[in-house]
Amino acid sequence: MLLLAWNSFRDRWQVFAGAVLTVCLGTALVQSSLLALVAAATAPVPDHLAPEDALALQGAYDGAVTLLSMVLALAAFTAVFIVASTFGFTVAQRRRELALLRLTGASRGQVRSLLVGEAVLLGLAGSALGTVLGLPVMRAQTWILERFDFAPTGFAAEWRPWAVAVSLGTGVLIAVLGVLAASRRAARIRPQEALREGAGAAQVMTFSRWAIGLVCLAGAAVLYVLFPGGGAPLPVWFIQLTPFLVTVPLVVGCSALAPLAVPLAAGLLALVFRGVTGELALSNLRSDARRSAATAAPVMVLFALTAAIGGTLATVGEAGRQESLRTVDGELLVAADGPEAGIADAEGVAVVSAQAEVLFELAFAESGASWYEAHYGLAVDPAAYAATHRVEPVAGDLADLAGNAVAVSPAEGREREWKVGDTLRVRLGGEESEVRIAAILPPSVAGPEYLLPIGLAPEGTGPWEHVVRLDEGADPAAAAAHLAAFGSVTTAEESVDAAAAEDERFTRDTMIVLLGMTMLYTVIAIVNAVVIAASNRRREFAAARVTGLARGQVVALAFLESQAVVLIGLLLGALAAAASVLGAAAALRVITGTTVVAVQWPLLFGLALGAAAVVGATSLVTALSATRTPPIRLVAARE
């Protein structure tokens, strides 16, 4: 069996080269993400650092670990998804060959082990290359991490010997996992498919396709219903994970059910595609729904993940922006290095709240174990803060926020059980002390999660922000001019918008780090799928030309089909992404009371046009090269 696997591997290398490429890139990506993750998780924090600096550095590494875990998860998912769909596809294209094996006496088990044998070969070849390619990918990834401030300067991942074993193992595992479903399908190929033309047009919507599709849809639907959390607010970081929880299963489900979308899309396109070429393109699309679905799969995963992650982060950001706008009850903001007491006495100023971010740790001890959690709090003067912000505590009173007291806006499950009067252990500026919860704030998207009295802020806290409410009838421009002496002055809206812009930049950077490499991978997979699909169609194209189509018409046909396939991918991807964004919006509504949905239209349009261009160009090139030989030579060619 292995010889046969090797032989068919050697002979169909154009098709398998594509599969090797996907395994290779997938392995490289997974290996690089893993090494970067390990580097971030084991990065040493030097002893000589001041407590705040050490805390900040540790926080930066923790952030990198979180982000890299997601990068790793996305890379692994995408690799398995792409490899699985590539394999499923190549198996579907080899029905006749496999039926022939069945006819000459191969059992179902032998067909399965042939395919698994191939997968092992492909996995080994791909991951051996991937191990090597992983190094430059790792450099690129750590460079991106550092460049976008997701890792401290000087962050470096290093290659580790065990990576070879892990990568080879991963590569082979990904390939074998990918081929399992396809090989089960292949084992059901009936021997007489080798004999009857068209007997190979097997049922496309198999039981397992239905099962996987419906289970994934149901899973996503359940999560979707759970998302508003039965009225209890969810932590914002958890809401940001909706793409992983909702879109990922939907991508799997949609790709299983994709053949059903083919006739739908074809019906839609029938309104646009006219003439004999258009009709032929649509009937090709319909008659090989599996091929159409397989080519659409990488487009779908690219669009779904980008749109879902981008849309969810943007929606959270927009909800935060609107919340901030509603909360701030002041006209101007003054940013300065230290708290400026003089602002209160300036002309036209009714009240001013000086506030600064403080990094502190909560100490926990539970059943023998003890640990610290870093949090940001806002140091404020409670009366001034209450006068310049529309915040109603759910319990307690902001006026009690003095001495060793804090106010919290509970986000996590554990925090929700806190009551006014509870004590917490905090570590601040290197010292541990007990604080009392004076007030519980309503849940919030933009924060602050903790309010501390100014007295608790350690020496050297800053920079400080001053929220200024002007006297009734005071001229903001004149007041701004006076206040310019204390620091840089902006209007409250400007400041919220600047924060939102900062947030958007952060979202963009996060997406680049999270998705950049993975998306590059899917783009290559898209090209790959088109090339594989075309490699099996020489004869079909030749037959079309013998029937009377000009070469140009055949190429146009392939191009139209490719655009239809892109449309299918985009539609399904949009569906999977929309569910995530709407789920996030529903969860945010519980917190803010308003419904906000943000969609990054320019990004999505760019992506859609890019996918159409890449697939269109690839299909033009492959169709041109597949039609270079005079058709009669191919039609007459023997097997």
């Binding site: 046969l4 006496g105 059992s107 007489q192 023997r638 097997e639």
Partner: protein, 244 residues
Amino acid sequence: MHTTESPVELAGVTRVYGKGDAAVRALDGVDIAFPAGSWTAVMGPSGSGKSTLLHCAAGLERVTAGTVRVVGGDITNATDAELTRLRRTEIGFAFQTFNLIASLTAEQNVAMPLRLAGRRPDRRDVRAVLDAVGLADRRRHRPRELSGGQQQRVAIARAMVTRPAVLFADEPTGALDTKAARAVTALMRSMVDERGQTTIMVTHDPAAAAAADRTLFLCDGRIVDRLERPTTREVAARLAALED
């Protein structure tokens, strides 16, 4: 035993494709036994059910009614594993399109059924079969380096290598020119004469049918006539009458 005389027997075999208005009765109550060591040709107009007959007799297609016995065993309700075992040991196939595995050499193609059956192919056996089909010198060639007639002979060698009880052939000369067709027909005749190979062949070629021991004529899924050792001319005349 009865079965040694007739390795393949069909009793009341009916095969219906589709349901309701679209139902097609491809075979309609066919009773036939194929005697051991004989070569039977099956002829008839296109769509008369020849391929269906062959597929049902070989256990590739389930019958709607009736029973099929192959080398004594009733395969009407055989499991996939039983049918696989049958294909490995008792049955060989040769078809119009030669269906060789493009990536394997002639020798490797011929050895494939043995390897699939888990047997270590004996090089001499494989060469002997290739020799018998006159291709000993082409054993390292791949299918695309062989002519159509040569590919068909490799396919027949592959079918013969397991020494099957029955050889099934569906239009084995259908894709060949007259000269190559004659060579393949002569090869099959010698297999029957020298090895006593029971052979069932669907064909459209009166010359090929004339080389067989007897010819059955199918029309609309029924056996309508049979001729023993007819001449090419007789076969052509009978077929022409049926196709009118």
